[in-house]
Symmetry: C2
Subunit: 380 residues, 2 copies
Amino acid sequence: MRSFAVPMQISLIAAPPKDLLLDDGFRFMHGQTIAPFTIRYETFGELNAERSNAILVCHALSANAHVAGKYTDAEDERPGWWDGLIGYGKGIDLDKYFVICANIPGSCYGTTAPSSIDATAGKPYGSRYPWPAIEDMVHSQKILLDRLGIEHLHAIAGGSLGGMQVLMWAACYPEFMDSIITMAAGAAVPVQGIAWHIIGRKMIESDARFNGGDYYDHPEPLRGLQVARMVGHMTYLSARALQSKFGRRRRGATRQFEIDSYFEYQGRKFAAQYDANSYIRVQAAMDEMDLEEQHGSLQAAFAKWRGRTLLVSFDTDWLFPVVEVERVENAMVANGTPVHHERIASPNGHDTFLIDYDLITPAVTDFLSDVSLPARLELP
Amino acid sequence: MRSFAVPMQISLIAAPPKDLLLDDGFRFMHGQTIAPFTIRYETFGELNAERSNAILVCHALSANAHVAGKYTDAEDERPGWWDGLIGYGKGIDLDKYFVICANIPGSCYGTTAPSSIDATAGKPYGSRYPWPAIEDMVHSQKILLDRLGIEHLHAIAGGSLGGMQVLMWAACYPEFMDSIITMAAGAAVPVQGIAWHIIGRKMIESDARFNGGDYYDHPEPLRGLQVARMVGHMTYLSARALQSKFGRRRRGATRQFEIDSYFEYQGRKFAAQYDANSYIRVQAAMDEMDLEEQHGSLQAAFAKWRGRTLLVSFDTDWLFPVVEVERVENAMVANGTPVHHERIASPNGHDTFLIDYDLITPAVTDFLSDVSLPARLELP
């Protein structure tokens, strides 16, 4: 087995994405069904004979099923979104674990989305696509695992919206996995994040070209989405990172602030590859999740969850401040659940879980190495 | 004289606003001249025979010259924007001081603005209105004071953008006043504020109806301005205030978040009374001001300022964090200027200077009562 201390030079070649086709469709929590429905997913590493080494990874708002590696050296500009944490010899070590990630309902990376063609209507779903809940994301992952014959997970891991899915798993399917890992996530988005999200969605919805969500006959990206992305981007950055990376510096000899130029670039890049209907739906699902409201208390929400838990928070994360992670921690501790809350000091705010692998890897390595692989599952 | 300790029951009846008409126009720093040009201003209290008791108040982004009192009980819904601090027996006591406030160039409350009719063209200036600098605001106030025969000020006071004007006064006309008071203001907006401002301006400018700034033939307010105001509003609120005032609460029996409903109300109210061209111009002026960049260092910027200085900061203000106020303080201290930096703990963030008069009044009262009125000015 490769040791974490030895840097890997071999880059992972990812297998092509796979599709699970649900002919009978997928029924959303609020009642609508889309049929047929495709779930796009990727897997990494090998499922062991006991089917006991599977780790489900849940992705965040703008990510997808492509967690690690490059499809080929030429095809991928950058490796998967959690490549720094997942790979041979990395924090989630593919020598030991089989990793699965599925594109969530609502998102536009292969799973049936608002931009997908509704064969019956002969045009994209657009405004007719349901507004998914976090439960739908978790449910779609459960369906996939069932179809793959994976009856138990070693762990579920995710950051931000992905971490919220992990907590929803613990509330909905507390027997299905041995351990969970969340980063930069709580059981509900605090009001400051909600307010920014709402403002971003208003920008998209007030773009004259948005047309209530039926805009697919116009090829250009929506300006509203570009600017909404800038708002989102701000919530991922700490004041300290903004100051050190940009400060009040101007771009070259111009009077344009560097932060302005950077946001224009990032906003345009994002809007060219992400869909506005997906953005407002996935983000709204994040805002709507509130395990405390749903169950009366967080302790009640996690009443049946007794697995080992790693909660990772970042001191400069103001979307999910440390105190929000502590609320989850306290509820689980009160339930007698074995929780480790790793408080990490980092300059990079919410996005630390996507940037500072030297900071997050030791906590994950320690947590996973301390868990004996479950033996209770039999071969099918 | 009325004592601060005795609450005043007599409400101030404000005199009607006055206009100074500059027939030759006003020349903006970047070269353009608008002629004729009106400066709208208000005065409160009485100028003493020595003309030595005048205090200039500088207003912030969305405010105007109407600082205190009501015009009549019927006419004004609410008293002037700093009524809690300025009045008979209040922190800036009209029994002692004569207060002047002028609507700044760019703003849309009586001073010639982008929405004002350009008589030559027979339509509003719109996109042709210059982009003012903070220096223009200060310069317009200086012109007004000159015309009023006020050759020296007892003090200049302001919060936020108003406080930035005060600091610009100290840099541009260091001999003109005896003392200055700033609240929630620094010598430059830090990058986090700039980023939010830029995002707000992009929202306005990308509103299809904005039309580059020439939208006055459309009567309805711009949606872009409504949403931009929500962004601005967010920068004035602390996370703590958002949490205690709104949290994740829903509006009545609906699923709409209360913060959403509140922002919609505030955004619509603001856009109905404020002009988009004014908003982007006044805010951009705020972002462009950078005394350090302009003078090489803050110590150089304030090299000639030796008057008494009160800097007030709020621990939950993240638009102008305490550390930004400390930079001004340190520069003045290094210059040997008598500075008092009052650090106030408050839940209300940047807007504390407009809300918590019980917190800010003692600092102002102490500061002003400790200054002997200047005797160096003669009657004209």
